[in-house]
Structures are given as structure tokens and as C-alpha cells.
Symmetry: C2
Subunit: 488 residues, 2 copies
């Protein structure tokens, strides 16, 4: 497929200079409009060594308004990055709305490198490409424009370019042993690259092949393609975002009704078993650290289900240096300017660490669905996006234990009233809690659908009847221990 | 000094339990108020091994609302942290307004450890303590409450505690060789700790010594002290923030008038020298990477002074993988919820990297002063805060090159009009630019004061007459090369 761009196209100095002003004006204008449109842009700039990835990026930097542009290179990962699932590093560097980021040898470099050096099998490479395509779909559906440019040079041209780079003192450092190894094995590298380009060219984020021998032609074509994509994206009718709250549901029959709310645990049993589970969890947490895995505990459930109380029993078994509790509330301004999963990706713990998430990314299909903060289209596709996200966590060595703590309507009311009487619990109860309570049928239906769609073999939802606090807390501890036992 | 808390104080189980409800209620209420008051809190919890730093933190986690609380440990730094000046790691983890963060063995651990293991001399230790005191002053003046708790155990108690920890399978891992080494050399550790506590107990962030032998007494006293400090801080009258714009100044005589605006560079000279400087810079940038130092280029100056054009000439010499351009505009919501230096600390480059700052932290004493976004008190103390900040950068191996690009009033007007004519420059000009121009006397006076107060031997301001763009660009490149030559 790459032979289709081996045409020897060149751009004369005159043609180059005559078109430049219009091209730059167009790019700068588009950049200003981007900001107003709230679109973020990732330019994936890739190609073999010597094709001019760095040079093209430098040129774009000059032509665009550098104040709203960043470039990111992923070679030489830090330990912060290596100790988290692969996609963490990409999410951490996504541009916010209105900005453009050039990803030099973006997220394809690792998969290509692994396949080329035979660290991954052909099947694994194919799976890597599927994962990357899914990542791109998640991002483009979340209003990120992804412009993928593959700079192509033939084997002969690559040799010439590498030699030319080596001749100059200024550029010699760019050519290393690896470059020549890639050149020696050019045919296989090319075939893997062709596979990557072919299998990840989708309707919403296709690859563009650019003949890279002539510098002027290469740079101008890359910039023109970027401008064209920006213009197209900006001209798209902005999808009408008309989120509506869920319609009233009368007495939904849900899986939550199957929970045994009568389950009780005696104080004597509780006081014997609680410290036993805590001791077990404490040992497992240290094993987790030794094994260089990490843990996310995720708590969802209606107000007053006892999430906070359960969390306090969990942390009693842990070392404060190892865990972090993350309360999730409405996203702030910076978070709203990114994909909704961005803030959750950023909080993924590194090796040996534990994060305890009090509410979570499931807000998308719970509160945002029920209250109408997200459109139906948005929360509908979130089920799959979340499954992909959790799959990446699991593949990256993160143990994820998810809880849905549930209380019956009567018990919840009792607890609300209790909170109002107890002075040190009053801060926990607001008018909103009572309002949410009136919508509890919708919340239950949404929770039930979420549990159905997001209980996967790699990250099942643990439903726990929480009318009896002692029962719920023991169940939470027992479940965490079992998951850890299985995973470690 | 520590003997003053060797009193054998204990808390009986009854006393402990009877007071607990009130203490917890108080803490939770204070936490709610914190949020409204926009105050952030750092609890520094420190003490020798075996004094119960971790246990106390765990207990506070249980008593407080864990959703608005984090804990941070600084042992085991990541390479991201090691490759930046020391304070980066502290700033990166400061809580936002309304939150509390417990820093386990916070920012004193490193200085104490270095002094104790003789990696630092007594003079260096004294300097470290001064730096920490200055850091604390910067934070407390920026509305962060710092509560410093030192948990004290005598040598005999330390031995007992370490032995007890070793006896239990659950806690054995907390005691290592280092703990026993510290114990063997207890007297010297204690004397260094006493020095640290004495020399950094200031009016705004004093240390509190807590006798740590009895667990109940220790935990309750730590919590009470925290509550007391929260209550005190919340009861303080909120300082009336009445920022006022600078009064009109007629024709200020400033150092900027001494610049030679007539300086011109011929096109021929420019086209010869520019690539020479760029080649030199390119070599120096690679040397920077090899030497594991980092570089910040900072550009300030009036609108249309040519900052963007100069930056484009600089990056032409650099590899897009090495640099990042950071445009500074008004702080966002999250940034406003932190100390104003927070966002700048976060952007400090790691080893081998370069950040190019288009406007900077000097906004505090320029636009925020002139337009009245900061109070007089705030921008006045910023001169010293910024000098401290830049000193930390210099000590941490960051080369900082600061530019003030200046244009004469006539040239500025000419450029504004030019921008309005050129279609691809129109996006750069707004009504605000003309408004700022009318305030140019105030801006000049502010710039002049800034240059006087913030030109230090470790980070001088380079003033450049920019009426002639070629002259300015060559000067910028020459200055960067000279600074790098001197530093590498």
C-alpha cells in the first residue's frame, strides 16, 4: 500500500513560497476557531527513522500559533509511566479543548516496536492495533479530532536520508544503531507499518500517507492535511446536546431486589471477624506492593448506603503511605475541557499503590444519565468505553474491585433521619439527598443496567446488601481479600 | 527542648471514649467550613521511627471526612521527582482550597536524613532549614494553614516501640535496619530534630511537640491540636481583599529608557549570524541533555514586542521532543484554588528538557498589579517569593534565562496597525491590546521595578531593545548561548 505514494513528488521553491502565506493564515485562523468550538486535536506524526517526523513537527510549530500547541514524545518512559497501564501516558498528555498536540511517533510506536523486535507475536500485535483503534474511537466520539499522518520513505531514500543526517554534526545524534537495524530489516518494518495503517484507518480517524523524500513537499502536505481536517471538523454541525433527565419509572424490577436485605451479623461475630479480615487484608496489601501490582477499590451506591463507613474499615488495615482516597464529585473546569475518562485515567495508581474511589467513572451512567447531564448517546456508549478502560487496567496489572452497596428505601430514610439528629453527621445530609431519594426508582434502574453491562469477567460488580452495616463491612473486606487472593 | 514533653502523659480508655464524639464532630464541622472559607491545610506529621507517624495519620483518616483528605508520603521518590528541584514534589501535592493533606514526614525528612547521615554539613543543614521556613512562609501567606506536629519518644520508649512492632507479624515490615541505626544514634538524631523544630517554629507555623508513648494520648492530642488550629484559622477575619489598579503615572523615568532603540542589524548580517547562533544553541541543547540539567526560557514584554517571533527562531534550533512552549494566561479554576506559584512549579522541566514560557509568574507583579487583580500586599511580597522560587530552581540545576523584550511606543503602535492589515496576524490583535497600551506608563513602571527587584546574580533579567526584530532575535539567541555556555 505504501507504494502508492512513491511518486517522486516535489515542491519547487517558488511554489512553496507562493502558497505559504495562505496556508499559514488558514492554520492560524483555524486555531482561533478551535478554541471557540471546544475541540481538541491530536496530530499523530509517525514514520520510519529518517522520514522527518521531528523536522515536520518543528515546521508545524513554526507555522502554527505555538501558544496553543504542544508536542509530546513517548520515547524514554519514566518510572511513573512504566508503573501504570500503557494508556495512562497518552491520557495524561491529551490536550484540553481548544488546543493541538503533536504526538511524535504517538501511540503506535510501542506496538510497532514490540512487533518488529519480536517481543510480541502477530496475534498480540493484531490485538494491540484493536486496542488503539478502540482508544481512538473513544476519543473521537468525545470530540477530539485525531489527525494521523504517516511519513513514508522507500528503503533507498531511507538510506540516503540517514547518511545525510550522519554527515552533519548538527543532526548526527538523531541516527543511532537502531535506525540502521530498522533499515537492514526495512521490508519487515514496512509490512508491519502497512498492517497498522490499514487496520486502524477508520472513518473517523483515517491515516494519511505522505511521501516524505522532498522536505518542502512533505511539510506543506502535512500542514495542508492538518488544515483540511481542522476545517472539516470546524464546519461539522455541532451535535445538538440536548440531554434530558430519565423519564419517571414506577417500581422497576431490578437485580437489586434479589439482594437479601435481611442478612444480619451479630456484634460478637463482627468483633471477632473484622480484625481477622483486616489482618488478612494487611498482609495482602503488602504482598501487592512486593508483586508490583496495584489496586483500585471502587465504591458506588445510593446515599447513606454506608460507603464511607466501609472505607474507614478498609483503611484501618492499610498503611497511610500506600493508599489514597479519591472522592469524586462534579468535574471542574479543566476536567470538563477533557474527555470524561481523563481525570480517572490520571488517578490510576502506580505499582504497589492503592486508590479507593468514593464514587467513580460510573457517574456517567448513573447521576449523569438520571439527571440529564449527559445525552442518551453519551451515556449509552459509556458502557463500552468503561469496559475498554477497565480492560486496559486489568491488562496493565491493576486489580480492580468494584462495589455496589445497596440499602432498602426504608433503611435509607431511617439513616437520613438519624443523620439529622446526630450533630456530627449533619454535614452529610442536604436537601439534595431527599430530592435524589424521590428519583430512587430511576437510580435503581440505571444501577441495574450498569451492573448488567459492566460486570465483566475481568472486573465484576460486587453487589452488597447494606441494610446491616456489620454485614456490609464484613462482606466488603471479605470480597477484597478474595479478589486479591485470586490476583496475587 | 524535647524533654519538656517527657511527662508520661496517658489517656485512660474512659476519658478517651467520653471525649471522642465531641472531637470528631468538631473536626467534621471544621472540614465543612474549610471548604467555604477557601483555606487549604497541610498537616506535617513527623517524628523518629517508632513514634507512630503512620498510626496517627491512619487515625486522623478515620476521624476526618476522608473525602476531603489526602495523605502524602515522600519516601521513595520517583525519577520524575528526582529530576526536578526538591520543592517540585511538595508543590505538586499541595491540597487545593478546602482540602486537608497529611504529609507523612513531610518536607523535613530529607533535610534531617541528609544531616543525620552526614551527607550535608551543619552549614548546609542550617541553610536547608532556612529554605523550608521560607517555603512555609510563602504558603501560609497564600492562605494555606500549616499544622506541624512532632511526635516525640525517648530513646528508651523508641526501643520498646520498635521491639513491639517487630513482635507482630502485621507490623514487622515497618521496622528496618535504618530504624535501628537511628536508634543507635538517637542522641544525634534528637539533637538535629530539636534544631529543626527550634529554627522553623515561626509565628505563622509553629511546631507542636506531642508526647507519643501512649497511643490514645498521642492520637487525641494530635487531633485536638489540628482542630484548634482549624478553629483559629477559620475564626480569623478574612483579610479584606481590595485590590486596586495602579494610579496613573505620567512619563515614568525607568531603566527601560536607557535601552538603545536605534540598534539595527542588517539583513545580510542577520542571515549570516542567525544560523550560526542556532547551530551553537543546538549543540548546547544536546549538551544540556547529556549533563542532566534543564532549561527555562522566560519571555516577558509588552504586546507586539516580538516574543512569539523570537521564540520561533529559538525552537528552530531545537528538537521538538526536547522542548515545550507554555503560554501563560489567566489561571483556571483549579489553579485559582492553589497558591499562585503552584502552576509554575508544576511546569518545571525534568532533566534534559526545556520549557519556553511565553509570559510567566511575573504576571503577579505586572498585569495583576497594574490591573488590580492582586492586592498591594500580595504583589509586594511576590518579589521575594519569586526570588526564593528562582533560587530553588538554580539550586536544583535548572538554568533560567529571563528576557524583557521592549519596544518603543511608536514602534508598538506601528505593529498594531500592521497586524490589523495582515489577515493572518489579525487574530493577534484585540481591543484589549489598545487598552493596555493606554496603561503603558504603569506597565513600564511595574516592569522597571520588577527588573530592579528580580534581577539576581542567579537569575538576571536580560533587557532587549526590540524595535528592530532582527537585532532582538540575534540578541535573544546570543544571550541564551552565553548563559548556557556559562552554566554547562
Amino acid at each position: 500500500m505504501f507504494e502508492t505514494v512513491e511518486l517522486g513528488r516535489k515542491l519547487s521553491k517558488e511554489d512553496y513560497e507562493s502558497g505559504l502565506s495562505e496556508l499559514r493564515t488558514g492554520l492560524l485562523k483555524a486555531q482561533v476557531q478551535l478554541d471557540a468550538a471546544g475541540v481538541s486535536v491530536v496530530v499523530l506524526l509517525d514514520g520510519p527513522d529518517g522520514a522527518g517526523v521531528t523536522e515536520t513537527a518543528n515546521q508545524l510549530y513554526e507555522w502554527l500559533d505555538a501558544r496553543y500547541l504542544t508536542s509530546e514524545a513517548f520515547a524514554g518512559t519514566s518510572d511513573e509511566e512504566r508503573e501504570r497501564p500503557e494508556f495512562w501516558r497518552y491520557f495524561a498528555r491529551l490536550p484540553r479543548a481548544g488546543r493541538i498536540s503533536i504526538f511524535l511517533r504517538g501511540w503506535y510506536a510501542r506496538a510497532l516496536e514490540h512487533a518488529w523486535s519480536r517481543r510480541s507475536t502477530p496475534a498480540e500485535f493484531a490485538y494491540d492495533l484493536r486496542r488503539l483503534a478502540a482508544l481512538e474511537q473513544t476519543l473521537t466520539e468525545g470530540d477530539t479530532l485525531i489527525v494521523k499522518l504517516w511519513l513514508h520513505v522507500s528503503k533507498r531514500q531511507q538510506k540516503q536520508r540517514l547518511r545525510a543526517l550522519e554527515r552533519s554534526r548538527e543532526t548526527r545524534f538523531r541516527v543511532d544503531e537502531r535506525s540502521w537495524k530498522q533499515h537492514a530489516d526495512y521490508r519487515r518494518f514496512r509490512s508491519l507499518a502497512e498492517q497498522a495503517v490499514r487496520e486502524t484507518s477508520t472513518g473517523s480517524s483515517p491515516w494519511t500517507l505522505i511521501e516524505a523524500e522532498d522536505e518542502r513537499y512533505r511539510n506543506v502536505t502535512a500542514a495542508q492535511k492538518l488544515l483540511q481536517e481542522l476545517t472539516r471538523k470546524l464546519a461539522e454541525p455541532r451535535p445538538e446536546r440536548k440531554p434530558v433527565p430519565e423519564a419517571q419509572i414506577e417500581n422497576p424490577d431490578t437485580i437489586l431486589d434479589t439482594l437479601d436485605f435481611k442478612a444480619r451479623v451479630d456484634r460478637a461475630v463482627y468483633e471477632k471477624e473484622l480484625p481477622e479480615y483486616q489482618a488478612r487484608l494487611s498482609r495482602l496489601a503488602r504482598k501487592l506492593a512486593r508483586r508490583k501490582q496495584s489496586l483500585i477499590l471502587l465504591f458506588e451506591g445510593p446515599d447513606a448506603a454506608g460507603k464511607g463507613g466501609a472505607i474507614r474499615r478498609v483503611i484501618r488495615a492499610l498503611d497511610a503511605r500506600q493508599y489514597r482516597i479519591i472522592p469524586i464529585s462534579a468535574p471542574n473546569e479543566e476536567e470538563r475541557a477533557h474527555h470524561y475518562l481523563w481525570r480517572f485515567w490520571l488517578q490510576v495508581p502506580r505499582h504497589g499503590r492503592i486508590t479507593i474511589s468514593d464514587r467513580s467513572w460510573y457517574g456517567r451512567v448513573l447521576v449523569e444519565r438520571v439527571e440529564g447531564f449527559a445525552t442518551r448517546e453519551e451515556w449509552m456508549r459509556a458502557y463500552a468505553e468503561i469496559n475498554d478502560f477497565e480492560r486496559e487496567l486489568a491488562d496493565g496489572g491493576v486489580v480492580l474491585v468494584k462495589f455496589w452497596l445497596h440499602v432498602s428505601a426504608e433503611e435509607q430514610l431511617k439513616r437520613f433521619e438519624e443523620r439529622e439528629r446526630e450533630p456530627w453527621k449533619q454535614h452529610k445530609i442536604t436537601a439534595e439527598d431527599y430530592r435524589n431519594r424521590r428519583r430512587s426508582n430511576q437510580y435503581e434502574a440505571a444501577a441495574s443496567e450498569m451492573i448488567a453491562r459492566n460486570s465483566t469477567e475481568y472486573a465484576p460488580f460486587n453487589m452488597i446488601a447494606a441494610d446491616d452495616k456489620r454485614h456490609a463491612r464484613l462482606e466488603v473486606l471479605r470480597t477484597i481479600c478474595e479478589h486479591l487472593d485470586a490476583a496475587l
